[in-house]
């Protein structure tokens, strides 16, 4: 029973962080109707940025947030503006913007291999002031870094939700996601909104990257696992729904963690894929998604 509770809590904590990555992805989809296949690679970039920041400055990884998050926002903004926008514009009226998907897959490929070239394939770990420290809650142990990561992920998601609901830019983003032509008529520059949305989505990866490095290995292909997990989570939660993404993340985190109690860790990966295929076949709209979005 204790083991079960422990794995439950551990799953909840890491699930929140998965959820944060998924929130970025779902935001990009909600606004641009494009699934960003490069999302995992952007997370990898965030992780490496945080890694180097901590390694070179020796500072607390949570301070890295102030550097990595704006950096990644700009990176995402630039990527959307330079690489994706020309293709997006060309496919504006096409029913299925497949070329954009292809371009983001290409970016996935490029980023992963550039990172491999630049940093080598080894698994890196950075020693921070929070690495390895544990909280003891009446016999139930969990990593401090995971807990802080969960709190930060939760806070970021709530902040993002508030931003979208109440700020002027947030309303512009929501308007564009509902009807881009109408929003355009209301004076919203839709391409600027796409850039910003992409930037915010990438910034979420930056936050996730910073909170992951105290307890997660950093290596060039780490993005792939998170990428696929993020896809599964956004489909589970419903494409375009931020609460859905967070909830979905937590569900996946718990499934993985509790599952590992009953079977070898390598099989838990399989469960996630099977779960994904099941969701696609049974209820593709997910928990909170729009049935017409696919």
């Amino acid at each position: 029973m204790e083991n079960f509770l422990q794995s439950l809590i551990s799953g909840l904590l890491i699930g929140g962080i998965y959820g944060l990555t998924a929130v970025g992805l779902t935001l990009i989809f909600g606004v641009m109707k494009v699934i960003n296949f490069a999302h995992g690679s952007l997370l990898m970039v965030g992780m490496f940025a945080a890694y180097w920041f901590v390694k070179l400055s020796g500072l607390n990884p949570y301070l890295a947030l102030f550097v990595v998050v704006p950096l990644l926002f700009l990176f995402g903004y630039a990527m959307q503006h330079v690489v994706i926008r020309p293709v997006f514009k060309a496919e504006k009226d096409v029913r299925e913007p497949i070329t954009v998907i292809i371009v983001t897959t290409g970016i996935w490929y490029i980023l992963d291999n550039l990172s491999l070239m630049a940093f080598g394939a080894e698994y890196r770990v950075v020693h921070t002031s929070v690495s390895g420290k544990i909280f003891d809650l009446g016999g139930i142990y969990f990593l401090q870094s995971k807990f802080y990561g969960f709190l930060i992920a939760l806070a970021t998601t709530l902040l993002l939700y508030w931003f979208l609901k109440h700020s002027k830019m947030g309303k512009a983003i929501r308007a564009t996601s509902l009807d881009r032509e109408a929003a355009s008529l209301m004076g919203v520059n839709q391409y600027r909104i796409y850039n910003i949305a992409f930037g915010i989505g990438t910034a979420c990866c930056g936050v996730a990257g910073c909170v992951l490095i105290p307890f997660y290995y950093v290596y060039p292909t780490v993005g792939t696992i998170f990428d696929i997990r993020a896809f599964i989570i956004v489909v589970l939660g419903g494409l375009g729904s931020i609460p859905g993404a967070l909830l979905g993340g937590i569900l996946i985190g718990i499934t993985q963690s509790v599952g590992a109690q009953f079977m070898a860790a390598t099989w838990t990966e399989e469960i996630i894929y099977v779960l994904f295929l099941l969701i696609l076949f049974v209820k593709p709209a997910g928990l909170f998604g729009n049935r017409h979005d696919f």
């Binding site: 296949f37 292809i102 490029i110 550039l114 295929l277």
Partner: protein
């Protein structure tokens, strides 16, 4: 329909010349390592052309085709290692298995958005890979998980699908490539081809006209998976070793899709042109830069893909075809796919 009737004589001569070169090449190239490169070139050209049957003509983006390569390879290898069944037969069985699996996966996913289908194929390919990696024994079959399967060397034996000389492998692959190109050509000019292209452009309109788009997409999927699996068996017999990481990896799936996309999906020659350009490039960059900069050839690959998608989304076959038409006198400026009746109507 007479496939050759609509082509000009220049096209026919060029096709014959290309075929003759392909058949005569092993007479000139005798070094086994160069032959191996050529075989792999044909292998990738074949894989992307098989991919093209569903990725090009059904208008969807399958990004997990390596799963079907693996299904083919593992089916024939397991049947051979366990029961001594000839890999030729195992190859056909593998093809059927792959086609069935492809249809099962396709039934719910082909009617979804392109992105969902792409995701489903990725998830499916990874699910198969992880399944193979985690399975040591499946019923009577020893799957051996991540350690992979070794096929014992039998020397030169047609029945065991093994040859000491690489030349035999070359001709087998060439024959397979010509077969799949032939099927593609037949498909393009058949009713099925037109139905698929209508379904790709505007599925609702097609359905309103009574075209069962779903059925034809599934048929294309079945064909594509069947042919892809045949290549799996070929690879197993060529390398005599298969493991889930290299035969079912996302890298292979992506490479197949990317080559077809860069070359030009939805056309007969696009994927082949893509392979002709990219495979040598791959080998060259890997040989010259691989030591200093590992992974550089893949970065270049990705860059080419992104650039081609931005500037020539229909693939490099489009500017190349236009160049060819201009060089051969520009007389027959039309695409050979346009109906001949239109030309006659104008003559009135």
């Amino acid at each position: 329909m007479n496939l050759l009737a609509r082509r000009s004589s220049k096209d026919k001569i060029l096709t014959l010349a290309a075929l003759a070169t392909a058949f005569a090449l092993p007479l000139v190239v005798t070094s086994p390592s160069y032959l191996q490169m050529l075989i792999l070139l044909l292998f990738y050209a074949y894989l992307t052309s098989s991919w093209n049957l569903v990725g090009g003509f059904a208008g969807v983006l399958p990004l997990g085709h390596a799963a079907f390569v693996a299904l083919g390879a593992y089916t024939s290898t397991l049947l051979y290692l366990q029961y001594g069944i000839s890999p030729w037969l195992g190859m056909l069985v593998g093809g059927v298995v792959a086609a069935l699996v492809g249809v099962i996966i396709g039934i719910p996913t082909l009617k979804m958005r392109g992105a969902y289908f792409a995701l489903a194929t990725i998830a499916f390919a990874e699910a198969i890979r992880v399944l193979i990696e985690n399975t040591s024994q499946l019923g009577p079959f020893k799957v051996n998980g991540p350690r992979g399967l070794l096929i014992n060397l039998k020397g030169n034996s047609f029945a065991a699908y093994q040859f000491t000389s690489k030349v035999s492998y070359y001709y087998i692959m060439l024959a397979l490539l010509l077969a799949v190109l032939g099927v593609t050509a037949l498909l393009m000019r058949s009713k099925l081809g037109y139905y698929l292209s209508a379904g790709g452009e505007d599925p609702e309109a097609a359905q309103a006209l009574g075209v069962n788009v779903a059925k034809y997409k599934l048929l294309a999927m079945a064909l594509s998976c069947f042919f892809t699996a045949l290549a799996g068996t070929f690879y197993a017999q060529l390398m005599l070793y298969i493991a889930p990481q290299n035969i079912c990896g996302l890298n292979l799936s992506f490479e197949i899709a990317f080559i077809a996309l860069i070359g030009g999906r939805g056309t007969i020659l696009g994927p082949v042109l893509g392979a002709l350009l990219l495979r040598p490039l791959n080998e060259l960059t890997r040989n010259y830069l691989g030591g200093l900069l590992p992974g550089m050839h893949l970065v270049i690959f990705g860059l080419i893909l992104v650039l081609v998608m931005i500037y020539q989304p229909r693939g490099i076959q489009e500017p190349l075809t236009r160049l060819y038409r201009r060089l051969t006198g520009g007389g027959n400026g039309q695409d050979e796919d346009t109906l001949p009746k239109a030309k006659e109507a104008v003559k009135l």
